[in-house]
């Protein structure tokens, strides 16, 4: 079961967050900060799965952008790891030009955030629900 989905840049700012379980707003920020700290502190040759409290984090880095997914014990880490990649591929296909800017310039993220809910609904959904 996927608990949350985060997109974070290297400065540790959250760009996109999506929770599949209710968590209070102020707890979210705390959680995000912790999660980001955990992910940023790891080097490339370390494992992409982190045990954090009672759940696990799976993260993947794309240039300056981290995508972090929180899952519970029963989930298959590798499947989620690939799911992230799938998601990025879908993003890439859907707005091929936006994505490149999205990686380089942080400002354009705000634009893609506006698009994302739409995207979530149509294309990615097929793939996302598979693991939800």
């Amino acid at each position: 079961m996927i608990k949350f989905f985060l997109m974070v840049n290297k400065q540790g700012q959250t760009r996109l967050s999506r929770y599949y379980e209710h968590i209070e707003i102020h707890k979210r920020t705390m959680l995000e900060a912790e999660v980001i700290k955990n992910c940023l502190s790891r080097s490339k040759d370390q494992c992409s799965f982190i045990e954090y409290k009672d759940f696990k984090l799976v993260y993947r880095q794309y240039a300056a952008l981290f995508i972090v997914v929180g899952i519970n014990e029963t989930e298959n880490e590798m499947a989620v790891y690939e799911l992230i990649h799938n998601f990025v591929e879908v993003l890439d296909k859907y707005f091929s030009r936006v994505r490149k800017r999205e990686y380089r310039a942080e400002d354009s993220m705000s634009r893609s955030v506006i698009f994302l809910p739409v995207l979530w609904d149509s294309t990615a959904c097929i793939l996302i629900i598979n693991c939800e």
Binding site: C47, E51, K53, E77, M78, Y81, D121, L127
Partner: protein, 990 residues
Amino acid sequence: MALTIVSQIFPREMIPAVLPLIEDKLQHSKEIIRRKAVQALYKFYLIAPNQVQHIHDKFRKALCDRDVGVMAASLHIYLEMIKENSAGYKNLTESFVIILKQVVGGKLPVDFNYHSVPAPWLQIQLLRILGLLGKDDPRTSELMYDVLEESLRRAEINHNITYAILFECVQTIYTIYPKSELLEKATKCIGKFVLSPQINLKYLGLKALTCVIQQDPNLALEHQMTIIECLDHPDPIIKRETLEILYRITNGHNVIVIVQKMLDYLKETKEEYAIITLAGKIAELAEKYAPNNEWFIQTMNAVFSVGGDVLYPDIPNNFLRLLAEGFDDGKEDKQLRTYAVRSYLALLEEENVFYPQKFLQVMSWVLGEYSSLATDVDPEIILTRLHNLLKKTFVTSETKAWIMAAVTKIASCTSFSKTVDKLIQEFSSSLDTCMRQHTFELKHLCEDKVLMKGLLPFDASCDDMVVDASLSFLDEFVAEGLGRGAAPYKPHHQRQEEKLSQEKALNFEPYGLSFASSVSSSGIAGRQSPTGLSFGSDTSGNSAETGHKETNTLKLEGVRKLWGKEGYLPKKESKVGKEDEPQAAPCGSLLAGRVAEPPVPQSDQVSSLSEEEKEKQQLASTLFVGLGSNAGVSLMGKVDLATQKFKRKSKVDEAQSSEEASDMQSSAASDFGPLLDTVPITKEDCDGDKHTTLRKPSLCSSDTVEETLQSLKKPGLDDKLSHSRLSPLSLFADGNIEIFQPSPSSQCENVNKTVQLPSLAEELEELPHSEVVELCQSDALALYLCKVWKDDSLLLVVFVSNKNTSALNAVNLVFEKEEHFQILESPSCLFSVIEAQSVGRCQRCVWMDKVCTQGVISGFVDYQSEMETHLEFSIPLSLLDFIRPMEMTTEDFGKLWLSLSNDVKQNIKMPSSQDSLSAALSILHQKLKLHIVDIIGNEGILACQLLPSVPCLLHCRTHSGMLALWFRSPCSALPDGLLYQCQKVMEESQ
């Protein structure tokens, strides 16, 4: 879009209102709408499973939907439902297997491919479902063996996502009823994972090992070198996973090393959550397997000082109880306690050391209780230490209270103490009221030594104190008070009830009228069910449960049970332990010897081992001592060689490696020998399905299978073994050859038809009862069941019919314990003999303990025969089996109605054929056995009870073709269940 929103943010209370709308959408022509509808229903199921009960058959339709997306969405619901109740969905196994076969075979549209792997996440989901279904069930597992093999084979492309599928496959293989051939393949997979240079795969492999290791500790031996390497891995996550493995394989021999490793990690890590869990594990291991007292105390000290205050509170509590309750052997006891006292004194001696509060509390308790055991230590010194502690600022007031208690206890043993006096003086003016209180207590107790001795006897910490809970010494006072005219005391709930009835009393007397008004005022559509777990708590509960299960199932061979729940068990074990040790020692040293010098025949190939490696191997030998104790020393040596080979594998050419692999397979196969069974599979079952049109002969490489077959035969395995097990199944796995094997069960059926069904005894024949149905049968036995609905319970009559021509001896029928049901008499039933062609009868009364709409009581029959001696059966039970009418008057109904709190309301459609209320009620009366209390105008009241005695009241009202149902019951789940039954009955009668 609306459906998406519904599934995201919908509150539970509004579900009934939109449910029909969403149900309609399931038939929508666009597949995306259908899929969204299924998703919304899934969400509803998570929020309130009871409310979507009646549409289960619609999920089934979704599963068979022609669009893959809809089908995939419905799998989520099934996964949840099967998690709840796997027995109820066994009949769907075949469908899932066929779906998976199609997915694996690439029958899906190309859109679903991800890096040329067909719908990987769908596969994972299906594998998970199959794992749940096949758990401990040989018959269901059998259906999925070849599809699992197929997916293992398909997933051989080197891509991350296939690894994910493989991992899921391995997990499924290990959860279902084992089959040796698959297990071998799974083992190979794990080997590949663990040895992979990719760190993520390594992690996955370790995780798989952790799951598997309980079933097969020998696997750990195979990979011991890798495990050792991972233990020193720079990545803490890998390290932690490795420790998890070690934790699972701990036994009496290797506990010291493993706990040492865990403590090392514990000291390094800073994350709070990790500390908590790890400390808990260490404490558990230490309690279970501690080899001696000194080690135990020291380990616990380390745990306390590192874990500190974040520990679960039951760790120190358990530790203290262990010390206090003592063991069978008084001497051992005393040693342990004395050692504890000494070690704590030594710890306290060091100045300026900060200890966590919990540790201090433990210390002070032990010192207080047992300091007198250390006879050579002056109590004065202990008191001074404690006194010093009290003066420190970091000590919290709670800890201070513990220390004061200790001081008091010590003071009771000594005649006079300067320190105590000093302490009293110092703290009697303390600002802390608690401290002051304690000091005064101490002061007064000191003045009266006799009382003190009586109050604080030595070593009485586990004797139960008798407390007069009923406060009978106050009776006199109460009687006096009553005599003077005081009102008798009423408990809180009674007072509240009285208040309530007083309020209601006025408008309640003319029953019909006021009732109607009260209904209309609160009869707004929408039902508020207090039942149903919230999603969050559900998952957390689950995880807790699984965690619990894991610790419970921790079982290893050759474990010396030293630290059980009752504490140390030296008396029983002392002899065995002594015998054990000399045995274990040579075993260990032998292994160490073997490991230290590289195996002679291979020395020309393997260059001499480096010093470092030797060290690692030594560590390995200490770690894995005792794991293979069941197999003996020779096996351990052998497996060690196997690992060596494995490491070399990459360099050696293909042929040789396959030979080696088969070598290992054969050794593994002989281990699993007893697990095998040779039940043939019939293909007929699969072919009956409508999906056959889609199935094409799958294109699998028969070559590889044959190769493995050959290689397996080469090592000269037992011929019988390979023939009976491998050949038919692996041929069958090819899928090209249709094998029709007459199954023994079909023969039995023919035989069965000639056997007459048993009948009930006469006195039961008069009661309402079901027809006699067949439960299961084997060659010798047939089981039949008849349900008799008695007034006070459900009577299950099980007939055991002997089909043989000879008598059967010692037939034992056992019902397994079920959380939902309660079997009133003993759960087993023994027939000493059942004559040829005759029937034995076993009757058991059953009550429902926890409300559920459907449930199963399972059990088995053992009997003496040449071949099969174990036959399992399961009896499906429904809520209706336990519902009985409840006769009462209208007034009684009114009173009871008010006293019940859980209510559920729902509007349902009236059957179109008969629209009068009385007709509808008579349906409920006939089908659900509800008692009609009264009918007034367009309202009716009914009553029933769930056995043994849980009432449920129902109020019905008709308006414009709808029937408004309003349930009330003291049990929260009962109204939901009944509502579901009502809906079903009403739909049927339409």
